[in-house]
Subunit: 227 residues, 4 copies
Amino acid sequence: MTRIENSHSRHPMKSPPQPRKTPRQARSQQMVEVILEATARVLGERGYAGTNTNVVAERAGVSVGSVYQYFPNKDSLITALHERHATQMYAAIDEVLAASRARSLRGRVQAMVRALLAAHAVCPELHRVLEKEFPFFDAPREESAADHDIFRRVRQLLDEHRPELTPRNLDLATWVVLQIMETLVHAAVIEPPAQFAPAALEASIVDALMGYLCGPSPSGRQVESHA
Amino acid sequence: MTRIENSHSRHPMKSPPQPRKTPRQARSQQMVEVILEATARVLGERGYAGTNTNVVAERAGVSVGSVYQYFPNKDSLITALHERHATQMYAAIDEVLAASRARSLRGRVQAMVRALLAAHAVCPELHRVLEKEFPFFDAPREESAADHDIFRRVRQLLDEHRPELTPRNLDLATWVVLQIMETLVHAAVIEPPAQFAPAALEASIVDALMGYLCGPSPSGRQVESHA
Amino acid sequence: MTRIENSHSRHPMKSPPQPRKTPRQARSQQMVEVILEATARVLGERGYAGTNTNVVAERAGVSVGSVYQYFPNKDSLITALHERHATQMYAAIDEVLAASRARSLRGRVQAMVRALLAAHAVCPELHRVLEKEFPFFDAPREESAADHDIFRRVRQLLDEHRPELTPRNLDLATWVVLQIMETLVHAAVIEPPAQFAPAALEASIVDALMGYLCGPSPSGRQVESHA
Amino acid sequence: MTRIENSHSRHPMKSPPQPRKTPRQARSQQMVEVILEATARVLGERGYAGTNTNVVAERAGVSVGSVYQYFPNKDSLITALHERHATQMYAAIDEVLAASRARSLRGRVQAMVRALLAAHAVCPELHRVLEKEFPFFDAPREESAADHDIFRRVRQLLDEHRPELTPRNLDLATWVVLQIMETLVHAAVIEPPAQFAPAALEASIVDALMGYLCGPSPSGRQVESHA
DNA sequence: GATGAATGAGATTTCATTCAT
DNA sequence: GATGAATGAAATCTCATTCAT
């Protein structure tokens, strides 16, 4: 996890059972963190096109060489950032859902939306870039571990409330829920139409999700459509 | 003089004594069209990072100079493409909504979703890039005329069906509807989870929209929530 | 003179003895004038590096093609401008020297300096570029007819006052006088050290010229130097 | 860190335990020097218009990137070259004036002129371009530190010989002297009218300067003239 | 003759990546 | 491991010139 792609880590057997945190590991970890933080800032401020490894290194107070010590190339920086973000979001979602096990579906959905809004409010610029300009270039796509975790966790939530739900296909429903939640949260934070109050936006997101999950069922269930 | 604007000139030289005028206009118009078409193809095949003015020019069978005769810089190509896309989508939405005036809200929403899915199915690669990698850098954001047209048109649809709707704030509702529709249509076309049938995806999109628009919505009114 | 390098002028025998000024010739002449005027303005405002034929054409309210109708290439524009300037300066010098035939050498020199200062005061920016950035690139140099005229005229002035002069070699003296006069006039007009009054600058130029022409003679005459 | 400044590092690694420091500095310094030298050669051979960063880099045996590592853009190369030239001229002037303190004004002026002629004789082509084609575009003008040094040094010379001088305003006189000396030296080296012997040219320059400085000057005082 | 759209060689500049120290 | 100077392929953009209308 410290090194992103190709790892060279070889401990020069000094002290046998390192006391606190293995100095080397720790420094590496910290370096990665610093670089990622700088990437986030630069990306947030200048967009993908305006981001380059030299600037990132400078911002991180580190040499370009060091960036390449931990990241094989420029795109891996962004991939790592995305992964980190997804991991954080997963943590937030998991925590909130675990803590609200006793509440209603609406209550839990709302808690989740609120947590995500809060998490994204920190540096909206970055998330805008991260979500909208995520490099499709050559990236294998869709193999983010954290993304899968999120999927599983939300899918589990739906499972726990299956009786209340209109949609029958829970995989599909999870996918729809995640798409809606993600867009609306980002849109609410990033391009918040000035005239809408934050609370109104949050409520709308919850309404949209609940409307889909528990709405009337004229079609949705049967896979066939009626043109 | 014909820079960047794109109007679909259709003067199939019927009447012989044509008012002698458009020859210049037409040439320019056509050049813009050719360049934009090439940009679309290249963008679809190589992504934003892989697209450059030389390739676009080559693809268009035109010299780089000509590209710069009509577009001040690389980004303006993409902006123009985005605008063209929005214009086309507006046309599609407007047509379908006008033609379905007699139908139910669900029927009209479904028609709209179907039209958009069809329009995006043409070259999904391009739309993937266009919607996801759209470069914001420093763009003024949100000043697309066609985007506003779309907003107005959908807002009008909601107006026409106001009695059936749960949301009270129609501006907010229009915004939510557009966000949901856009993401789901794109996601359905671009990263269609293999296991879901197209018809099921379409139905889900309609369900999501209708769920939001006509759902029970116990929160919709009161802006405050019960955390 | 109408066309700078390669002339195509062929009168399509319409009216035999054209009444006033031969319309064609006149139009050409005027075109050349307009283009040269535009070149002067652009050159003055943007310097040599910032000047290009397209801008010149636009400024002249003429098409690029027309520029190339009268000037074989970009540099010829500047050469022509230089020649025009030299011609004007020759005219000014000649007039003033002819009119002051009765006066003292100092009087005539002063009249000449004053005339040149006045002529250059019109658009100093242009002259700065014209004199300082004159394209040496490939220009044959030193074959300006007007420059030779000026040389001859000043040489004649010195001839007329030979008895009063310290320098023996009048060709050399003419060369020195022209160099000094040119630099100081330009410097006075272009980079006038704010603290010096125009009149003081004029006086200094005259003093410098007269000092050289009528100064003491410890060396100047004998070509050998005493290191 | 070593960008553009040029100081003539002469640490011929004598002492072994060198304070370990300059290695980097020295490399940079040397690179700047190499690039500037190449620029000078190219400029001298091909003129401003014919000079481009690729050629400069190639000539310097360095990559274009390296040129841009030390110079922000093409023009800065020329500006730096100009500055270097001015610095060298200042050094030459200062040395000669210091060494001739005991001599007469004429002797010192002559020494100065001779030194400048010698300095410019090295590569006249370069100086031609440097002085005549120096790009002003938008340059702040007149802010060369070395130019100011030269002014001060010559002004001091005049101060030291004040009693012998005709001009009263020594700032103005310094300005005039520098203008005359500069033009004539350049002209003598660059466009030396074939018929004039170098010695005659040198003598004429000295005569011109001395004529101005010690001439009779019936006007010098009264600013108003008698047109 | 006049026009100006089109051309494309070439100039400027950037930036991911390497590698000697 | 860390550094950052050096690299140079490649991208963006300019502009003198041509030529069909």
